[in-house]
Symmetry: D2
Subunit: 289 residues, 4 copies
């Protein structure tokens, strides 16, 4: 999404409603009458007869029109078609928090892409249970919060983290190899807004030590999975996965090194899709437009 | 595209027109008013300001409505929006001819997928300049025409082939490793309706002996390219490409064997996209929805 | 491995022994003194200090030398180094049986590659619990044995199958989507000599209905795994795996179709590695040279 | 390669000689008698009859033995077998210079992997014709030399660069998107010791603006190629290549962004192979063990 001159901005509409004839016509007619120009559209139906219909539309609209547009859309389109919807505008960058432990590769990948302009997002803070990556963040003027966690302090430290995240009004959180399991209370604060990178091809090797387990089983490919966090460990809706080829020549340490590259790329792709409003969660699955 | 009960069929609309606000609204409103239910849609604009707009829409419609629908679409939508368009229906299978020389792998791949129902197409004939693959075709009840070609007979033999192809009302032709260069006259009869598989990653190694040239250059990946045939050899619009990894251990013969698998898959994907009306040619490039 | 003129043949030596200095020197000196010329060699050690050493050596040797060579190797090399070993010669093609049910894609892939000379193997028989693929085999002059299996007849029918396989002196068996679970007794007859293709990326989705389970979980890649059969279902040593990308657009039926291509390729690669003596089983893992 | 206790180091031997029986036996017997323990070996022959034989052997040896070992190897093995050879030891890290212009992604990738210990190399200096990446280097305590180049100053500035590189005794140079063509004089100083990353799948789109040309041609995959620099632009021996999938949806700018990821990975793999003595140049091709 790019802002263009003469007070027009890009907007992205996501909708979900019961499938029935006339949805595309209804939405596109409304946008046309509102002076919006559709740039891109993708749609998906779980079943044209009794299923759910999902759509993502990118369009250009006058910045001043936002409020009128949304009000009209609710009345004329969303209510009649029983639609859940949201619109995001290109002049409102999302606010992304990163939580990380001691491994730096996923954090560095996100920061590097953010610095180069590839990730169109604001990063108001990084939270870590280790102090070691502070300089990597502060040298880019990103506030770094060291919040160590022990079994005894977990509840109060999570509360401190939540307080910071809410103060900073973050839109979503990326767990860039954050090695603590978040409590149900934490997860409930950010439903489908916490993205985790797990270092295996889920559902294979969920839980601890996936590279060791992959080595022991003798698989010929190792993978990484980016998913939204739910209260079932490593069971949330999958956004993106990829794999790399390995062989008997590779030690567990080699798997860790090879896997780092897959983790970095998979997490970046998932985060970028989320930032660009390309992901819709449906049940325990994702639609990635 | 699947036919469904109660006299409804699936239809696929492809359009191309100057981009401007209101196209999606216009098309979808017309289809809604005609009782059609949109199943899937993809669109692409070369530039929202002065570019071209392309769209593919799949919808269900009553079989009896075909003629009325097309007439109405031309008048109410296509003419006002300066649109080029076509509709294909699921009850009209495309007719595909295959031309082949002595290598059998691409032919066998297409026949196997056709036999298994994966390629939704009719195959009224196979033409070959070698007699060797006759049994492979006739055992599946596909007529096989042996039309040998020499420099002296090329013109008359091409004329014979064209006659057969027109008699059989073929929609498009697949060159499944057909080792003759078609004349401009032949190509002109089937514009953007001849699909060739070239055994390299074009534009690298155009022309003869691509595997030998790839071996000599010492590349680390070899590829295959499916493209529409034009009068510039190996220069037509590319539909699909893929590659396989090779190393110094592989001889030219190994490249030929490895490359066969890539050729089979790339050609299948291109042919399947063409059959499902997913390919639009624009200039010397393709949009593959 | 290729036979060459003047009575020389290719041979392939596989060894496994405790790692210690001098193994390569011992083996290569013996082969040199026996007039053999090493063509290729690969080695692997689980640990140079107390681990196991594995090696594959391809060499040329006079056909008449076979017996002398093996006797000398045992005495001068294998016994002193506590080696397990085997030699296979290029003039002894392996004998491969195929067991299949009703899906034809894996069978057809193997037969097509065998017919084209890519799989250097003899196929003395195909066994199926369905009658439907008989013609595909007999048209290539491969005997087809229809051995239906029910819960009641399983024991006696397996016995019949084993009798046939032993009569035909098969070296190994490929389960090309054979939808029956072999009994421990059957498996025990052919240790590490039965190759199965499972239609998932193991250990994910072991057991029945992997494509349905992959669809339900919402993974973004689906895979296939070729492995040796053991008495633990889908738990045997993995030979080869690969994956294909899918999205929310794909139905279970689409996964089945996309997965077929991965299954074909993965099974072929595993079978070809086995034929060329490139696979060594170690514990529940494989070394694939 | 890892150093291990008790004064043993790892060593890597690369050889090239006319193929004939007895080479492996000769080399391995010599190493065994010298007290070396072979850890890994790879070999390749262009033709067992009159071809060239290449081998890479990794072994452990007492550090104090280096000189004796090399002297003995020359006399007892290399001279009789007409061998070219070199040995590198794990206690002598290679010295790598990086030359870069304004794009930072390849430089950052190499520095990040070096910092994390993945690239076992020393980086005594970075040379750039732009001042912009100085801080990225100096913050890691790597000296940064700004050597701007114009048509008028090219000769003297290249001389200055060569002086620095020789002073620092660099083993090889990586052009991490260095946008100047090196003169034949420069290249001659470092034969097969300058690695360049070209942002296309060579030989396609050699020369300037490969992403624009790929976009214009309408290819469906874009690639990157790491190769040794020779005096023929983009024609040197290829070390590594890879590709990424693109579609009609991607602008030239998108290709640049997608391509960056491929460039980073391909360059890293090539540099790592070079560092680990895995690359042998033969004619205009490479053997990558």
């Amino acid at each position: 999404m790019q802002t263009n001159p003469d007070n027009h901005i890009s907007a992205c509409l996501l909708i979900c409603c019961p499938d029935r004839p006339g949805i595309v016509a209804g939405v596109s007619a409304f946008l046309f009458q509102s002076g919006a120009n559709i740039l891109d559209a993708s749609q998906h139906s779980t079943d044209p007869r009794e299923g759910l219909f999902f759509m993502r539309m990118e369009f250009q609209v006058e910045a001043a029109q936002k409020h009128t547009l949304e009000k009209g859309f609710q009345e004329q389109v969303a209510t009649p078609l029983q639609m859940e919807w949201q619109i995001r505008y290109s002049d409102q960058r999302k606010r992304m928090a990163i939580m990380v432990s001691a491994y730096d590769h996923c954090l560095m990948e996100l920061l590097w892409r953010w610095k180069s302009g590839e990730l169109q997002v604001d990063i108001p803070l990084v939270i870590s249970n280790h102090p070691s990556l502070e300089k990597e963040c502060t040298s880019l003027h990103i506030p770094f919060h060291y919040i160590p966690v022990t079994a005894a302090t977990k509840e109060q430290q999570e509360a401190a983290a939540i307080r910071l995240l809410l103060e900073q009004q973050v839109d979503f959180i990326v767990l860039a190899r954050y090695m603590q399991i978040l409590s149900p209370n934490f997860v409930a604060q950010f439903p489908h807004r916490i993205i985790n990178i797990h270092h295996s091809f889920l559902p294979a090797f969920a839980g601890a030590r996936p590279y060791l387990n992959a080595y022991t089983r003798g698989v010929k490919l190792i993978g990484a999975t980016a998913h939204y966090v739910t209260n079932e460990l490593d069971e949330g809706p999958i956004i993106e996965q990829d794999v790399s080829r390995i062989s008997h020549r590779h030690s567990v340490q080699d798997l860790v090194a090879i896997g780092r590259d897959t983790e970095r790329l998979v997490l970046f792709r998932a985060v970028n899709a989320h930032i660009n409003n390309r992901v819709i969660v449906h049940g325990n699955k994702t639609i990635v437009f």
